[in-house]
Symmetry: C2
Subunit: 356 residues, 2 copies
């Protein structure tokens, strides 16, 4: 793969948020990047802003296909037909099983960067989007070791943490971690709506936990059907598993099986507490709960203290718990800074609870 | 009820977080408050800190029973036996059906303040806990109008928004709004754990949405079995409704019924966006999304700007969206301050998206 390493010519097909960010990230690490998009305006925007330097597929060593999932197989096979033996092709779609089944070529290696943005398209594109992000690759028995190591190297260069998983496992994992949670949130919200239609006071009783659980349901519904249908097998299995868990809970409630309810809640609590905070492992994270009132300046006072002490707040949320006016600020910071920061907040008169 | 209004002698049974906060709130509005607790140390703590001024049930006009739900009926009936005709008794338990069925007295009116804290017992007690909180009262045909109007007046004085709901409706509403969401979060977390045992990489793929949906599952599991069993009928019905929604989704995926999937997601998105932000109506709330990077000071810079402009941040969260290092800050503020604050952040170099 000496050729591959030395020429550094890349081509990106599909210049949305992920495609444009890949182009920027590659450009920053010394690649010459061309690109293309079905949309004339997306192509022109990327050219004019310097995200890409041309529009020809040309002599690319690396082609990244960042089209919607449904179009990937067709585009990849077309591109493989015109590329040389030393080139590699990858994609970024959120579902992998159907894609690896549709492409039979040692130069192809499917991938899925776990990154995104609230913004869409070029507006949200950033060269740093993949720094610290988990980038899944799904090699098959066909994938050549050269293809794997070359793509792995490129992704490391743009800051991603690469993990290899087989395509079926990937689909099963994202079903549990992303697709089914979205469907659950939607189902809970729809059920609550139905009840609220009969009794509007429900909305006043919907506390923090309910809002947390339904938050993702507020997202753009239009991007979901494609993803859900592409991954329908794994999703159906996970839905079935959950239906059966809910039925068991119902049965335990009916038969007063206190032990099984308690066991289930305890194992869930244990597992949730061990869940790593984003890219960070939970071992390195410490948590603080700070009582605050809803007044301008309370939050500033806490975050200023963090800033002064060079404490980085990785995660923050206001847990209103229930519908009161005051709340608790949940902060995730480096574990070794917990005492320092808690003492500082204490001095400033805040009520603080440390958690580790 | 002239007697009731003028003497202002209250007694609180059960001096945990809610009981102690009720005592403090009543004390602040001119009541003389006595109290009691099965725990010798809770009673002594409340006395020594001045939360209560004595321990006798004495000549109370108002008795608030703040024991665990399972003990309420027994305690209330015992107290009603020794109180005069002009007194009133209420409770604060999270489940109401079994309680109103167990007490047959015109002087009793059951209630449920939707307030709480991360802290427990006296340590978390605050006189302002109920300011702006929704306090549900569940009158029955037995409840006398005098009892209702007197208790309503007292609760308004300590800052609560009183709503009246019948006890069965209350239980059905909290099943959907609180109890079942908790069980769903636990079930999803347990299912993910099972998958993660086979494939630990799952935890790296668990994005912001998954963490949001399982957050409540991390809470203290020991307080839940009591609540769940007290409200098992309403919970079972809601679980069944959700099982059937999940089964319908499975069927729609299997039969490629795109329309029904899209309709479901769209109605959920619409409903979720209309969900009021806490006690505030969504009409008065505006939302900003601010792109931030994970560096000490980023958050301080945003919250400082808010503080300087006297903008109160009602709700804040870091949406990492996916596992990237940077994220989006979601801020809920007064709708009329959105432009002011967005412009200020813009000037400071932040990328801001306004939502209304």
């Amino acid at each position: 793969m000496t050729t591959f390493q030395s020429r550094r010519l890349a081509h990106v097909v599909g210049l949305g948020l992920i495609g444009s960010s890949v182009a920027l990230a590659l450009g920053r690490t010394g690649w010459t990047v061309t690109g293309d998009d079905l949309s004339e305006s997306a192509r022109r925007g990327a050219l004019e802003s310097g995200v890409i330097s041309g529009v020809g597929l040309s002599e690319a060593d690396l082609v990244v296909v960042a089209t919607p999932a449904g179009a990937v197989v067709g585009v990849v096979n077309e591109i493989l037909g015109v590329l040389g033996a030393g080139a590699i092709v990858t994609d970024v779609a959120g579902v992998k099983g159907s894609i690896v089944q549709g492409v039979n070529d040692s130069r192809f290696l499917a991938g899925h960067p776990m990154a995104g943005s609230e913004l869409r398209g070029l507006a949200g594109a950033r060269a740093e989007l993949f720094e610290g992000c988990t980038w899944v690759l799904t090699p098959t028995t066909l994938t050549s070791p050269e293809t794997y190591s070359a793509l792995h190297g490129v992704l490391r260069e743009i800051g991603a943490n690469v993990v290899a998983v087989n395509a079926e496992d990937h689909d099963r994992l994202v079903a549990v971690a992303s697709h089914v949670p979205h469907l659950l949130a939607g189902s809970l919200m729809n059920e609550a709506s139905r009840v609220a239609e009969q009794d509007a006071v429900l909305l006043q009783l919907a506390a923090g936990g309910f809002r947390d659980m339904t938050r993702v349901a507020a997202g753009d519904p239009m991007i979901w059907p494609d993803i859900l249908f592409e991954n329908r097998l794994a999703i159906s299995q996970t839905l079935e598993a959950l239906e059966s868990r809910l039925a068991s809970l119902r049965q335990a409630l009916g038969s007063e099986d206190r032990q099984s309810i308690t066991d289930g809640l305890q194992s869930a609590a244990r597992a949730r507490r061990q869940l790593p905070g984003r890219a960070l492992s939970s071992e390195n994270m410490g948590y603080l709960r700070v009582m605050v009132s809803d007044r301008p300046g309370e939050l500033a006072s806490v975050t200023m203290a963090a800033s002064e002490l060079l404490v980085n707040i990785y995660d923050i949320e206001i847990a209103h718990g229930i519908e009161g006016v005051a709340g608790t600020l949940l902060l995730a910071i480096d574990a070794e800074q917990v005492d320092l920061f808690a003492d500082a907040l204490d001095t400033r008169g805040f009520q603080v609870v440390r958690e580790r």
